[in-house]
């Protein structure tokens, strides 16, 4: 049943309809994208679901029940809401932001704590590192990730997203889109997603609904829309979407750099200290090439050996068969510019860095994961 | 106690005159300090800090200190008024000049203007509305402080008010208080309107 619109209209004070006789059914578990030019009514439509706007006529129901039968406050606490600017409260930590609604619902402290933990793990952000940080201390991508987690806090059946990735740089946007797909595959929420970016719509939506001037022009799967657009306008609108023709990346091999190996030092046991390309990391390898230690490179070459800070345990590295998606995320979030790539015997075979990723992207033109 | 119109008018004029003189002296100092402190944020902060301390000292206390230093008379009041006028003008001048979009200075340079010309013909006019606000605040404050100038032997409407309080004579009190109040309100309103006209003109440029 999901979310259902029946002949919903919203009038502006001047008499023009912001949304005009909209009827649409979003089945449970579907990610529906609302897209259209500015002023088409997509955001207004979204905001009527959690009653931030009230329709002038028509009925909206969730799981079969008219939303007007709920108290608006209770309704909103049961629906997730993410906006472009994140709306994270700057004077509260990540944890406090996430557990805001659970707190309002009077969950006990343990339950809230566990839930925050769970949610952060879901997106690979460690509790210890992030829970007590403030939004200002996070990057744009991290902030929006927290914004999404916040909307999931009470495990609501429906999530509303209003251009959530619009303010992010292209790499973060891509990473978060993939993250959302992964989460959706796992959580199966009913998601209404507003965007003006056709690429995003086609990539994320199970179905896409195109609106103009308050009217729903057509709704269908990305394929359906591409094959049978109902109107000239839709065909033109989609025409901006370029179907990717490059091969999907299966592994990170394409991003990896293996060139320009500078050997900093050769060791007594046959081991070496190497540096790849200009990545600012030194890798300590044993005689077999197994990666033993990692350290940030020193600027002045071999002069300050004693001050090199080698990390021996828990070296951050990437397996050659790891998914490109995971690796991109780790690079976007992580503390370092680059990560060593090792084979299944933990031998160093290359390095991925933000620079190498950007280079690959600019060469191939598109990434499809 | 004389409350005739000519007398009250004279006192009003004295009051306004002293306020304006004190304000202008303080404004000149404040302005000069702000210009000097440009591009020297630490100096600016120090100067603003000192001026803030002066501002915090209650009016009558400051006048009392000045009384000890300079004795009775209009001069003492004017010194006090000048001191109080420094902060608003200095701060607003500094902020006004700093707030000028560097684009305009670039344009000036590009046209071949000297530093001095850029200052006079570009920065000052653009910063003027903000500076004027500081001047307005200073002048209205001065009119207020000048009412207690009577205690350091200065002229002005404070004379009537104080006398009236001592004699508990309502007519005398009002003869002093009403003109003083009106004076302050009038100056505030006139200067505010002037500011608005000027800032509209400035943004139209």
């Amino acid at each position: 049943m999901g979310v259902k619109f029946e002949h919903v209209t919203k009038m502006y004070p001047g008499g023009r309809p912001a949304v005009n006789d909209l009827s649409l059914t979003v089945p449970t578990g579907e990610l529906l994208v609302l897209i259209g030019p500015s002023g088409c009514g997509k955001t207004t439509t979204l905001r009527m679901i959690n009653r931030l706007e009230e329709p002038s006529s028509g009925v909206i129901s969730i799981e079969g029940r008219d939303i007007r039968s709920y108290d608006p406050i209770q309704l909103r606490r049961g629906i997730g809401y993410t906006i472009q600017q994140t709306g994270l409260l700057p004077h509260m930590t990540v944890e406090q932001n996430i557990e805001l609604v659970p707190k309002l619902l009077k969950w006990d402290a343990n339950k809230r704590h566990e839930r925050t933990h769970e949610l952060l793990e879901l997106v690979g952000m460690s509790y210890e590192t992030y829970a007590h940080r403030y939004p200002r201390q996070l990057s744009g991508g991290q902030q929006q990730r927290v914004g999404v987690l916040r909307s999931l806090a009470t495990d609501p059946p429906v999530i509303l997203m209003d251009e959530p990735f619009g303010a992010l740089d292209p790499i973060s946007r891509e990473v978060l889109q993939n993250e959302l797909k992964r989460l959706q595959a796992r959580l199966q929420k009913t998601i209404i997603f507003v965007t003006h970016d056709i690429d995003e719509a086609m990539r994320l939506g199970d179905r896409v609904a195109i609106m103009r001037d308050g009217i729903l022009l057509q709704v269908g799967t990305p394929d359906e829309l591409l094959r049978t657009p109902k109107e000239e306008f839709i065909a033109r609108f989609l025409g901006r979407y370029i179907v990717p023709h490059t091969a999907p990346l299966e592994s990170i091999g394409q991003f990896m750099q293996t060139n320009m190996i500078a050997i900093q030092r050769e060791l007594a046991d046959g081991g070496r200290i190497v540096q790849i390309a200009e990545t600012p990391l030194w890798f300590w390898l044993d005689g077999e090439g197994v990666l033993k230690r990692v350290a940030p490179a020193l600027a002045d070459g071999g002069n300050g050996w004693n001050s090199v800070e080698w990390a021996e345990e828990d070296i951050d590295c990437v397996g050659e068969r790891d998914s490109a998606e995971d690796v991109l995320r780790r690079l976007a979030d992580g503390e370092t510019e680059a990560l060593p790539v090792v084979d299944d015997r933990h031998r160093l075979i290359g390095v991925v860095s933000r620079r190498s990723v950007l280079k690959t992207l600019s060469n191939t033109g598109r990434v499809e994961v | 106690m004389n409350t005739s119109l000519p007398y009250v008018s004279m006192l009003t004029f004295q009051h306004l005159y002293l306020s304006v003189v004190g304000t202008l002296i303080g404004a000149a100092i404040g302005f000069a300090l702000a210009v000097w402190a440009r591009r020297r944020p630490r100096l600016a902060n120090a100067l603003i800090g000192i001026a803030e301390v002066i501002q915090t000292i209650p009016g009558i206390a400051l006048l009392a200190f000045l009384l000890l230093a300079f004795g009775l008379g209009n001069g003492t009041l004017v010194v006090g008024l000048a001191l109080y006028a420094i902060l608003p003008v200095m701060q607003n001048t500094y902020e006004g000049l700093e707030g000028v979009d560097p684009v305009y200075m670039g344009i000036g340079k590009g046209m071949g203007m000297t530093r001095g010309q850029i200052f006079r013909q570009v920065e000052l006019p653009l910063a003027f509305p903000v500076i004027l606000t500081g001047l307005r605040v200073a002048l209205v404050t001065s009119i207020g402080v000048a009412t207690i100038g009577v205690f350091v032997g200065a002229d002005g409407l404070g004379l009537l008010i104080y006398r009236g309080l001592q004699l508990i004579d309502t007519q005398v009190i009002l003869a002093g208080a009403i003109p003083a109040g009106l004076l302050a309100i009038l100056i505030e309103v006139i200067l505010t309107l002037l500011e608005r006209r000027l800032s509209r003109a400035a943004s139209a440029r």
Partner: protein, 216 residues
């Protein structure tokens, strides 16, 4: 040091006697000002059309010199502490009102929208979002009001409300330098002290999340 000790011996009593009423006038009117101006400021953010006229009216009171205001009140309310409190209360309003209004208004509307969207009630938004974020500005307004009040309370002595102003004015009348200083110096120190203490309070109420370093 001896000079100070002597001074205190001679005038300490009078200073302490005057300090009581002075502090009373300052803090009671400040408290009343806060109680009225903060809710009023919040109210105005919900009704912005009323903001301009109301703030304009309060500003006019501010423009009137304090001595004038006290003098105008006298025919109606007489002399003593109560009329003084009325005047001081009215004076304390503007700085607090204006800062409360501006502080709450300047909060990013996206924050309010996200908070509403999550299901916070208006009261919850007020307590958990608007007040914490505007607290530094509100306290700054209170600090300014307090400093002004110390100053105006000295004038209140002229209408019989007591306070350190009594010492200053007596000192002037009697050409008594020491008495004058006994009034002026504590007054100045009091104002500076209150300014300093409330400045610290302001730093204390500034939320941590707004002070920490920005993302790398």
């Amino acid at each position: 040091m001896n000079v100070l000790a002597d001074f205190w011996n001679n005038y300490g009593g009078q200073i302490m006697d005057a300090l009581g009423p002075h502090l009373f006038l300052t803090f009671v009117s400040l408290a009343l000002g806060i109680i009225v101006a903060v809710p009023l400021g919040i109210f105005l953010t919900r009704n912005p059309r009323l903001a301009s006229p109301i703030i304009a009216v309060v500003s006019i009171f501010q423009t009137i010199p304090s001595l004038v205001f006290f003098a105008l009140i006298l025919p109606f309310l007489g002399i003593g502490t109560q009329p003084a409190l009325v005047v001081l209360f009215v004076y304390s309003l503007l700085p607090i009102l204006r800062n409360t209004y501006i502080g709450v208004r300047s909060i990013d509307p996206a924050l309010i929208d996200a908070s509403r969207g999550q299901g916070m009630t208006s009261w919850e938004i007020l307590y958990m979002v608007e007040l914490p974020l505007s607290a530094p500005l509100i306290v700054a307004g209170i600090r300014l009001a307090a400093i002004y009040l110390v100053s105006w309370a000295t004038i209140a002595a002229l209408i019989g409300a007591g306070g350190l102003g009594d010492l200053i004015f007596s000192g002037i009348d009697n050409y008594d330098t020491n008495l004058l200083l006994a009034g002026a110096v504590p007054t100045a120190l009091l104002a500076l002290l209150i300014g300093f203490l409330l400045g610290m309070v302001r730093r204390l109420v500034t939320p941590r999340g707004l002070k920490v370093g920005v993302a790398r």
